[in-house]
Amino acid sequence: MTFAKHIRLLPSLVAGALLIAVPAWGDGDHLYPETTLFMAAHLDRKPPRLDADYDIAVATVFRDVFADDTVLYADVDNPLGGIRFVGLKKNKEDAWRLFSLREKIRLLRYAEIAEAERDGDVQRARDYSAEVPPKPEDVPVERCERPLDTVMAQRIATLWDTMLRGTRNSTREEVLAENKKIMANGGLVTVLVDGTAYHFYTGGMEGQTYNPAKGTAPDLLSKIADAMSDACADSKSLPTLRARVTALEKHLAPESAK
């Protein structure tokens, strides 16, 4: 679910100084690099400890995802829907398995507890602590796993690799073009105050997209991640997964043919 706010910018702000805040991700036909502690925190001078604590809690609860037999995965994070992981594992016999994991308790609470403790807010820390097990390790996870045929798994793996190898920032020209488009629309921009973030991983590469434009490669890849999750829960969804894999292959085909 996405809530959006439409904000009309003053043309003077845009035309002269180009002051539109552009997020790390945009509507490009590629994934964007992850943001980390090494990036800026201009708006909030406090080190982004909350984000790091949340990520550490997620990495702890979903530690199975990081096992050696995992070939690729995605995490899908929505402030209302929570976080889930979907991916593929391959064992020593080259048998592929589709997996899907979902949090049962909002893990952000652990980061919020740590933040309340740092702030010295004992009551808030106590209230939040009452909502979750003492340690993230004890948080139950909703699990699903099923075999996946080798051909389909390898097609998905190829798509993950292709998409992640193309991870990059927007160029200055792309950002300027986006701003021009906004001005042509009367300065109306949509600022997402909620949305679904998709993060993709394989072979040590990472990339993300956030409410991608419909029909773009990140949009099609996100739909594959959703279909993988559905197909894990119910094999009747496998044809949908197959169709979405084909759709992205077709979308990328002209690029790979170069």
């Binding site: 502690l37 997620v58 993060h199």
Partner: protein, 267 residues
């Protein structure tokens, strides 16, 4: 010999990151060298191996993350202290800022690992039966403040003219816009340890970041690194020779990036 000096060669703190950065791609006959920065790693990506260490750096270098900071390079050597070199702007006035802790912050992580038995001392050639390095742990603890917040920070700040500042920003931007993973056909490099540098630039339009553990000689990344080092040295020495060196490294960077400046990154 400190704990870090003694043990670090045996433990590559960044090996996983280097491995997963796509540097192990088999090299081909006509392979190109990897001369671009790599996207940053994340905790959930599993390649952000020691978030506590990075958090310490982020806290200690906080001033280099303030509003007005236009570009930055965080330098993480293997055996020496970490440092950050930044360029900040306030109402059109530019200043170079450098911060360097007097103790290597990595030592806190190495100490914790040694205490937890994750790092052992090898006696003779018996690599299978390491022992807890108690003597080195005691020596290291004695030489280190208990809390990393208490480590003294060497701070330097110096004015730099707008023209040079803008050239530095343009150079940073050109290299950072080419940040990407290792591509098919690029030469594979195994980095088991060494200096790791994290770069950042903001132009008001977007924030760009990338890192490297390997910079081929004569390439763009090496030139960018050279410019950052020259900024650091100019701040420390504040003399004509250091400024001349900064100018020459800046010119070298501009020469390296000239063909690519303004173009979209190649896929």
């Amino acid at each position: 010999m400190t704990l870090t000096e003694h043990i670090q060669p045996l433990l590559d703190k960044r090996l996983p990151a280097a491995l997963v950065a796509g540097m192990l791609i088999a090299s081909g006959a006509s392979a190109r060298e990897v001369d671009h920065l790599l996207p940053e790693n994340s905790i959930i990506g599993g390649s952000f191996d020691i978030p506590e260490y990075d958090n310490k750096l982020r806290v200690v270098f906080d001033e280099a993350y303030a509003g007005g900071v236009k570009l930055r390079m965080v330098d993480l050597p293997s055996f020496e202290t970490e440092s950050v070199t930044a360029l900040k702007e306030d109402k059109g006035a530019y200043r170079i800022l450098t911060l360097e802790p007097e103790k290597q912050l990595w030592t806190y992580e190495a100490l914790a690992m040694a205490k937890a038995g994750q790092i052992k001392k090898v006696a003779g050639n018996d690599f299978e039966h390491g022992v807890r390095p108690d003597k080195e742990i005691a020596e290291t603890e004695a030489a280190l403040p208990a809390d990393f917040h208490d480590v003294k920070i060497k701070r330097c700040e110096i004015a730099i003219d707008e023209a040079r500042a803008e050239r530095l920003i343009a150079g940073w931007k050109a290299v950072l816009l080419e940040t990407k993973y290792t591509q098919p056909g690029e030469e594979g490099v195994i980095v088991t340890d060494g200096v790791q540098d994290h770069f950042y630039v903001s132009d008001g339009l977007s924030d760009l970041a990338g890192w490297t553990a390997y910079a081929p000689e004569g390439g763009k990344v090496a030139a960018l690194d050279g410019a950052a080092v020259a900024m650091f040295d100019y701040c420390a020495k504040h003399n004509a020779a250091a400024l001349k060196k900064l100018d020459s490294t800046l010119a070298d960077l501009e020469t390296r990036i000239a063909p690519a400046a303004g173009k979209a990154p190649s896929k």
